[in-house]
Symmetry: C2
């Protein structure tokens, strides 16, 4: 029976509650590991390890490599070293390394010790690379042949390795020192005669990435050149692994989620996390920052107590000045952050972008200021108040656009993540600046005169 | 000479300005179309078509399919029908359709008429499918064989089609009526003897997508099952095309950009667009909405003029109440929207998510309220004012969390894009609600008593 995803989930959730474990075991028999992983993701934390044990042996490793990080952590805590090492042994090295990376150090050592000497070595090597580098993404399973062999010999090598290497798209051609000299697309091998030399079939104008390249740049290269997999080389151009495009897909999801989480003022774990306490802790610092900014705003406003007392209507326009500054700031910062993430702003000179953002702010600022000035005049019948609110609105929009555009650029220049400058940070900064502008304008134009 | 991307761009920008077109032609000779596309993207709009004509003929079509939409629009406006049809003719059908989709109707008809009858027919068919469906993503080039052939015959078919079909990963097995019966991975074909039957090599437990499936769901399926390409079938299970994973990558980028643009209150074109006027028009409606919300806030506050006049310090805390409500609302809505986009919230019952968000808000709300209450008391030496601000803060956080969590869920249920409920929309709603709460609490606890 091939249950659709949500039916399968509903069914397993119900059976898990009533303890019908044998029925779940049967349900899992015909299901794809990708589907089972989705089910495990939504189970209650306490049930995850128990239900995981009902998965058929041949699917369990792949399920483990497909669940979310928070589910993986829960599972690893509930499984024995032996169970974990069995999964690690079965999986391609890139997935195995991801799982090892989630284990506490001692536990990782014990799991490694349960593996065969050869597997242990290759995993240890991969574990040295930073998780977010090409080395952290790659798998060490690939098919490589010397450039001087025949098609028949290359096919024989493919046959020998077919058990170990999943999703072969390319055979790599290397020289005597293991240096990557070119790529042999599988279809070329397939349609060629066995006694032909591979030399003329090799594509020597290929793209590779260095093992220490950041994963975001790996993703950018794969996208720019429409690759389905990319070979990874060390500093001597020796082939050390390959990155398949499904891992690049995960990187893109991850990076987008990271940017969104920073815009929202939370951590990226928030999106999969289930522990209320951990989520609270992730979000609190952003809120505390906002609170301190808010207290600063209150103190700032209190210095204008005299002005507020004499023209109480000044208080009414505090929300609209804050809201517009906030909105414009977020628009500019989000656009700059996303352009930086998509790799478009590096070459595109930043001064030009600032001009663009300021021109847009100028146009929208004029329109918005006119509307609020006229609305205020009609409402209060007070031309000077309308003038003050309009001028303050215009200046706020320009300042908010400048702060929103420049801050992420500066962060990028000095080596921080520009996405930090979206969301709460920009909004709080703009709140303070804009209140200051508003009350200064009011003091000069309205109260003093 | 292999210039790195940004050097190539700088060089072309400089030569374009000084009109050294022949030098640019030479520079482009050895460059990958992916790199040239990045250069064309950042050129001034007026230069794009002129510089595009300097690209070698064999690279030009691929460059055209790799530039951003806004650049494509500019290029298509500057190129002749003949130049466009040459590119359309060379490209795989999925890329050709994307270009045709950007052309004005008349121009598209003229370009189609320049193609050979056969190509015209297949493009016309593909153009019928909505751009954001599986049919809009797929290409009609693939290799398919009857399930009863030998390996040798399948390889011969591959050889015949090798010219037309790029990046072959799978050969598809079909029955007499063209129905897809299974997938033949290329490596299996490669390592098998020519006189063997393909039957036993066929993987019959495969995933396919219906031609009218939404592109977001196509991407979810490709990710869930770690596919490198997915076959597309019509309602009778007949094979009509295939979607390669590089197109899925583009879909993911697009969807993430779309979500971020809505959080920021702008259109997704904003990220690539260069016309200041068009950007201004994209952003204005969001700002106007915020302005109207702000005016409503001002009117609301004016109804509390008496309270404000008697306790002027009430005005000082308006920014902090607004800021915290805004921050909490964005946190909740962004998390819900992203979870919905990642396909995690459908099965996970929504009530459970609401409980989670409210518990987090409760915990953070208590902490933040205590801090602001104590800070207010220390600052103003007025316990009642501290109490009012604390209570109002707590209620605002709870209300903001509820609105932020429920609104995207409701939008999803009634068939709208939940991402509309992040950013300016949530913030404006929360501003109004929270000001109302704050002044109501103040009226009851402070002013009246």
């Amino acid at each position: 029976m091939d249950y659709s995803l949500s039916e399968l989930t509903k069914e397993v959730l119900a059976r898990a509650e009533s303890g019908e474990d044998e029925r779940i075991r049967e349900l899992f028999l015909d299901e794809h590991p990708g589907d089972i992983a989705e089910v495990i993701n939504v189970l209650d934390e306490d049930d995850k390890a128990r239900i995981f044990r009902l998965i058929p042996d041949e699917s369990a490793p792949e399920v483990l490599s497909n669940v979310h990080d928070s589910t993986l952590t829960a599972l690893l805590a509930g499984l024995t070293d032996k169970e974990i090492s069995r999964a690690v042994d079965e999986l391609p090295t890139d997935d195995a390394v991801d799982i090892m990376g989630q284990l506490p150090e001692e536990s990782a050592t014990r799991v490694l010790d349960l593996l065969e000497e050869e597997d242990k070595e290759s995993l240890r090597e991969l574990l040295q690379y930073p998780e977010e580098s090409a080395g952290g993404l790659m798998e060490s399973e690939y098919v490589a042949v010397p450039e001087g062999v025949t098609v028949g010999e290359a096919v024989q090598e493919l046959r020998n390795r077919a058990e170990d290497v999943e999703q072969v798209q390319n055979v790599y051609a290397v020289d005597g020192e293991g240096k990557l000299v070119g790529i042999l697309e599988l279809w070329r091998l397939t349609i060629s005669r066995d006694d032909q030399m591979v030399g003329p079939l090799i594509d020597r104008d290929f793209r590779s990435v260095q093992v220490d390249l950041d994963q975001e740049e790996v993703a950018a290269i794969v996208m720019r050149y429409d690759l389905v997999e990319v070979p990874v080389v060390d500093e001597d151009e020796r082939l050390v692994g390959r990155i398949t495009i499904d891992d690049v897909l995960d990187v893109l999801e991850e990076e987008a989620t990271e940017d969104i989480s920073k815009m929202a003022g939370t951590g990226e774990d928030d999106f999969h996390e289930e522990s209320v306490l951990r989520i609270t802790v992730l979000r609190f610092p952003w809120l505390l920052g906002g609170l301190l900014g808010g207290i600063a705003s209150a103190v700032l406003m209190s210095t204008y107590e005299v002005q507020l007392s004499s023209v109480i209507a000044l208080a009414f326009f505090v929300p609209v000045i804050m809201a517009m500054g906030g909105n414009v700031g977020i628009q500019c910062s989000a656009v700059v952050v996303r352009s930086l993430a998509l790799g478009e702003l590096e070459v595109y000179r930043m001064g030009k972008r600032l001009t663009r953002e300021l021109t847009v702010a100028l146009l929208n600022g004029v329109a918005l200021s006119l509307i609020i000035a006229v609305a205020t005049f009609i409402w209060h019948g007070d031309g000077r108040l309308g003038f003050v609110v309009g001028i303050a609105m215009f200046l706020s929009v320009i300042v908010a656009a400048t702060v929103g555009t420049v801050t992420p650029m500066v962060l990028k220049r000095i080596g921080f993540d520009p996405a930090l400058a979206t969301g709460p940070f920009i909004t709080t900064t703009n709140d303070l600046l804009n209140l200051f502008i508003y009350f200064s304008v009011a003091t000069i134009l309205l109260v003093r005169s």
